[in-house]
């Protein structure tokens, strides 16, 4: 029974936390964009416009829902739900800290440490496409369908290099458990480099970074919603909280993907050369590890914003070309090299 209680507390905690980050992200995105573009950005609601996401949320909730006349009612409503759901459930296996000892009981900071957590993330990620497809189809709008089509093709194409890049990480650390991988990144190798995924899998890291931008529909891969071409793509017809779910799901996705980058490639809660856990008590270490992890996550979230406001968008065929002609061969090559290394060093 106690295990259940702890699990539920963890689930609630991480959901609230991720929601909080995603909310703040919407603010960071707008303020960051403003900063880069020599303007002010939202600055009316609360200090520095910090309550802007709240105001936006209230606005979205209270707006009228408009169902297009020719839309498919069920699919239309299912779309945003299916988009947001995978984004939220992926966090079930992603660690958010090392561990904490409370009342003599060791609690790992992860909802569930299953030994196939890694594959679970991939599987859940591959389901996110349905939300977009249903939204695009259900709207019964040509622009929406184009957006849906683009997104389907894009997500299928980029899931392959994503999976292959991740597989190489599994080769290196020999486990499907995200926690094992995170723990294995402590210390150094070759004497001076931190034992992080990014140093062991530099090519894989680049591939993974490119692929997650495509998976998250972010610039330069935001073709499914490229506003200058297909109005707003799959969510052209949506308004009110259904649109809110799409937009919000996207930010939750960003948080999940960024956390994965940190856990897999950037040493999770480890700091290079120093093992802080020795200096801290079991409780404070739990909190500190959590903070370190999310400090790193914050950087990658910022990177998303940074990239978005810096570079232009690809064209559809260029996205496909990059995926199939560059990323997949490179990912296979990376996998091969990794396997060779492991075989030779074993």
């Amino acid at each position: 029974m106690e295990g259940w209680v702890i699990a539920i507390i963890k689930v609630v905690f991480i959901w609230v936390w991720v929601l909080l980050i995603a909310t703040v992200m919407t603010w960071v995105e707008r303020r960051g964009a403003a900063m880069m573009q020599d303007r002010l950005g939202p600055n009316r609601a609360g200090p520095f416009g910090l309550f802007q996401p709240l105001a936006d949320g209230i606005k979205l909730f209270t707006k009228e829902e408009v169902l297009p006349k020719k839309a498919h009612k069920v699919l239309w409503n299912l779309g945003p739900l299916l988009f947001a759901l995978p984004a939220f459930s992926a966090y079930a296996v992603v660690p958010f800290g090392d561990k904490i000892i409370l009342g003599g009981k060791e609690i790992i900071l992860q909802v569930s440490d299953v030994n196939i957590g890694f594959l679970y993330v991939l599987a859940i990620g591959s389901l996110a496409v349905y939300g977009i497809v249903l939204g695009g189809w259900g709207s019964n709008n040509k622009f929406s369908i184009l957006g849906g089509l683009r997104s389907t093709a894009q997500l299928i194409s980029y899931e392959v290099p994503l999976g292959l890049a991740l597989l190489a990480v599994v080769f290196v650390y020999g486990s499907f458990s995200l926690r094992d991988i995170a723990l294995a990144q402590q210390g150094t190798f070759l004497g001076f480099l931190p034992n992080w995924g990014v140093f062991k899998q530099p090519l894989g890291f680049i591939l993974y970074m490119v692929a997650i931008y495509a998976e998250a529909n972010r610039v330069p891969f935001d073709l499914p919603e490229a506003e200058s071409e297909i109005v707003a793509g799959y969510h052209t017809e949506y308004g009110s909280m259904e649109l809110g779910l799409y937009l919000f799901g996207e930010y939750v996705n960003l948080v999940t993907l960024s956390t994965l980058v940190v856990v897999l490639y950037f040493g999770a809660w480890h700091i290079p050369y120093i093992d802080i856990s020795k200096f801290l008590g079991p409780v404070s270490w739990g909190i500190v590890s959590f903070l370190i992890l999310y400090l790193k996550v914050a950087f990658f979230l910022w990177l998303f914003v940074w990239v978005r406001w810096t570079i232009p968008r690809f064209r559809y065929d260029q996205v496909m070309g990059l995926g199939w002609k560059a990323l997949i061969p490179l990912a296979l090559f990376n996998l091969f090299i990794t396997a060779l290394f492991i075989q030779l060093s074993a």
């Binding site: 030994n115 196939i116 594959l119 599987a123 389901l127 249903l134 299928i156």
Partner: protein, 172 residues
């Protein structure tokens, strides 16, 4: 009472019925998606998480997405699968296939008693490494034959599509 099993079994069966009964192609695909996910849940229940994950990521995440892609590519939203269902040759062929399936299941039911008997799981059941060992050691030949088969299918598909694409280019 194994309520977990029954919940998902009922979901799976009713979703499967919906899949064949509905007249809208995309709704049908969504029914299939539900079947896959219910199956995955059942696999989890059977202590085979790896199979469950594969069920989701391969069937739901890849194959069904492609089916949906094709539906979106080829059909206007108003168009319903009804056109296909009304086709007599499709219908008769479908009936034939259905009968074959029922026959197969009937044959399989004979051995169900053996499966149903409770046994302890073999060591490392559902573990990725065990599965890998099986695939790449014991069933290596089957595995490779399978991959060659898929390769042939792939090349065939590309050939067919390319031919069509070239024809188009000449006309444009």
């Amino acid at each position: 009472m194994d309520w977990y099993f029954w919940i998902f079994a009922v979901i799976a069966v009713s979703a499967a019925l919906f899949t064949v009964a509905t007249r809208e192609a995309l709704s049908s695909a969504m029914g299939l998606l539900t079947v896959f996910i219910a199956h995955a849940a059942l696999y989890l229940h059977l202590h085979a998480p790896l199979v469950a994950i594969f069920q989701v990521s391969i069937y739901a995440g890849a194959i069904l997405v492609l089916i949906v892609f094709v539906i979106m590519l080829l059909m206007a939203p108003e168009e319903r699968a009804g056109v296909i269902q009304a086709n007599v040759s499709f219908r008769s062929f479908g009936t034939l296939l259905g009968l074959c399936l029922i026959g197969l299941v009937a044959v399989g039911v004979k051995g169900i008693a053996v499966l149903i008997a409770r046994r302890s799981l073999p060591a490392g059941f559902g573990d990725p490494s065990v599965l890998g060992n099986l695939l790449f050691r014991r069933y290596l030949l089957h595995f490779e034959v399978m991959s060659v088969l898929l390769l042939v299918a792939l090349i065939g598909a590309i050939y067919l599509c390319k031919n069509r694409a070239w024809k188009h280019k000449e006309r444009v």
